[in-house]
Symmetry: C2
Subunit: 146 residues, 2 copies
DNA sequence: TTGATTGCAAAATATTTGCACGTCA
DNA sequence: TGACGTGCAAATATTTTGCAATCAA
């Protein structure tokens, strides 16, 4: 928790960006939120309780910044809005299980995908830098709904 | 090619939908286009040469319809617009390789992912119905640019 | 005939940008 | 102090929707 702020300060300093209350409170929203997968509007609403004057544009700009600094990872679950979570949780081997019934997003850890990346690298001339793997289906609760 | 139209007619009939020139010409755009991965605007532009009076809203409505009929598959490459390709090409084991430099989309066939799905099904209580796998990186041309 | 379908324009949604003002370093 | 950052409103971009006119079955 503390080290996340320290990392922010350091990375901001490196690129001559400034530490502002808005940036701090937005990062705190992610630290305090257990769920992850926050959208810009989610963050905006969380942050407004502590900082009612913050603008939505600032939230967007800050999320971009935090993604550029490799603190947050921007992702897309196909519902028309971008979502963000901490990069370090995205250690390249956790995948998202998206329930098409209740829209909950669960996670699954696995590194089998590295095998697939190795196959692709060998068979094609494509240099893989990142991947995005989503599984759509029914979560436990929705399976039992009938 | 012919069978695609027949499939359309049959599926339309089943649900009491009508076969209109607009629907026909939009489907034809996909048949005649080799590349695939067409966006609504791509389709609109292709179709306007034969049917200059068509409206963009009709294109959107028809793409939704064709997706509902399992003729097209709606997908999202994270560039802020939806793209569509024939369902039968999406036989659950071809993945997309998206170049982060030139935005070209290549494809890669593999069924290794079925192994991963089996692992997930066994270890979690999630019933997988579909998946979406994208790899981001540099295509051959862009690797040789710098 | 008649309900589905269309084209148009307006609305909705998510995100970005210009700009005057404010603030961190 | 001065460049960076912010809030607001307006602009974009994509997709959706209301509605009167049109068309397929």
């Amino acid at each position: 928790m503390k080290h996340t702020f320290d990392a922010l300060c350091e990375k901001l300093h490196e690129k001559a960006y400034k530490l502002t209350p808005q940036r701090e409170v937005i990062l705190r929203a992610f630290i305090e939120d257990g769920e992850g997968h926050l959208s810009a509007e989610d963050v905006y609403n969380l942050v407004k309780t502590r900082n009612p004057d913050i603008g939505l544009a600032t939230v967007y700009r800050t999320l971009d910044l935090l993604a550029e600094l490799d603190i947050l990872h921007k992702m897309d679950f196909g519902d028309g809005r971008s979502r963000y979570e901490f990069c370090d949780r995205e250690e390249h081997h956790h995948h998202h299980l998206i329930c098409i019934c209740c829209n909950k997003v669960a996670e699954f850890d696995d590194d089998l995908l590295e095998t697939l990346e190795a196959v692709i690298a060998r068979k094609s001339d494509f240099k893989i830098l990142d991947h995005d793997v989503k599984f759509f289906g029914l979560c436990k609760e929705c399976q039992n709904k009938s």
